[in-house]
Symmetry: C2
Subunit: 271 residues, 2 copies
């Protein structure tokens, strides 16, 4: 059995790359561990909007901004900066390990190990990944406990994943009765996939299933809507919205002017 | 469309219950938002081990400890304390919204609304849920980026969920080729389910699929093992272990003495 102790036994001469999660938006949801890594870094690589998330934490650092869509360029830049001796923080919103930059860094490292890159200095970088609060968690906690039982996530972006694979996954999410969070639900060029995904889920669970649309979650201008699955429409969703669909047991309850959504722990009621 | 603004517009006279996530173990992974809630509380309700997680944060508070297994009792106690006017924090490790106490509180509240409880004072409590880092995220980040693409979670506890439902879900996780994290993989009385789940997944993905076993994640005595799916055995797992299984594309890469596991972002390689 391969055993691995991911401790902080960095060799003194190693260069350092932190893969840092900035959480969903609220600075109070950035962990002290992420804050320490940003503090230790001289150089920050991030999409501009995410640097804004850091607020004061980002002061006095060299910022390297690359636009959205240039993920590979950003990962490569972070690896090169770290290899050059600069303590570097590559920052993603949410959890950097969930549909974000961490995996791109390891894909590049893997390519280097396989001889498909010519950057042997990357192999001497000490990499530390710091987890964070992902959008589905902000969505669920803002309305109660939507993720209270088995759940899954599906990205609806077919940029890197064939649409057939995505369709198959939505069917599996339906047949397994998982709570489903859709990441990348729509983009400017891509707006029909969400309605197809909705129609697939409607084959498996009732039209009354609660759906939570969380836009700009945990930020000052956040907007949370609780709708029914049969009301879900891509036109009400943009790329800043997390779409989470309950399972067949999820409940939307109303207490005066307060709305909550939760998914019970199990399918046998013991209360 | 029901629209709900989960802001902090608490009515002054409302009593307050915070549902607080304490993260996987490392105090530096507790968000400032959770820390503030604990700081504001006079009373903390938690399983003893989780109170230990809080360290200095828990000082000077009234602790209410109830053993594991008494989840309903703990939720009820927290609601009653808050209703009595005490600012109360109910604390779970990981994310309190994921296989944890938040959903139990909302089940009780739902029962009150349905007239199955006689605690109308619960309905005046202002409840705030604060998300946190869940075990799967600590597991994934400790080895790289296992959660880099679509994933799901399945609890193997059949205490509240029929085993047939769990089996169906593991099949769906397999057919959808999701990265799968098993929560409650074993308990003292329950040790055969994990091997059955492994055998089901082996119908869908190769025996060489990487599996990450994270025990006491992010704590000083943590132990991380990277094995193959066909090596997974319940005897190597205890109730403090998070078991995460890669999808068919997940890779275990080795750079000198460093081991990483990542799941590529997509199924079309564009690097």
């Amino acid at each position: 059995m391969a055993s691995y102790q991911p401790s902080n036994q960095s060799t003194i001469n190693m260069t350092q790359l932190y893969l840092v999660s900035a959480g969903p938006g609220d600075a109070h949801l950035i962990t002290p561990k992420s804050a320490s890594a940003i503090n230790a870094a001289s150089d920050i690589v991030a999409y501009g909007l995410y640097i804004d998330l850091l607020g004061d934490m980002g002061r006095g650092k060299t910022h390297h901004e690359l636009p959205l869509g240039e993920e590979i360029g950003r990962a490569r830049l972070a690896l090169n900066l770290a290899a050059s001796g600069k303590v570097t923080a590559l920052v993603s919103s949410g959890d950097i390990g969930i549909y974000a930059m961490a995996t791109v860094v390891f894909e590049l490292l893997d390519n280097q190990l396989a001889g498909k890159e010519d950057n042997p200095e990357w192999l001497d970088i000490d990499i530390q990944v710091i987890p964070g609060i992902s959008a589905m968690q902000a969505n669920s906690s803002s309305v109660g406990a939507l993720l209270g039982h088995d759940f899954c996530t599906v990205s609806l972006s077919d940029l890197l994943t064939p649409w057939e694979t995505i369709i198959k996954r939505v069917h599996s999410a339906g047949s397994g009765d998982f709570v489903v969070s859709f990441y990348n639900p729509v983009s400017i060029k891509r707006n029909w996939q969400l309605n197809t995904a909705r129609d697939i889920l409607l084959e498996y669970r009732p039209g009354s299933t609660p759906v939570v649309l969380g836009r700009n979650l945990t930020r000052e201008d956040h907007k949370i809507s609780i709708i029914r699955l049969d009301q879900l429409d891509a036109k009400d969703v943009d790329m800043f919205t997390c779409v989470s669909v309950g399972n067949s047991e999820s409940k939307h309850i109303v207490n005066g002017d307060k709305h909550w959504v939760y998914t019970p722990r199990g399918y046998s009621k013991k209360l």
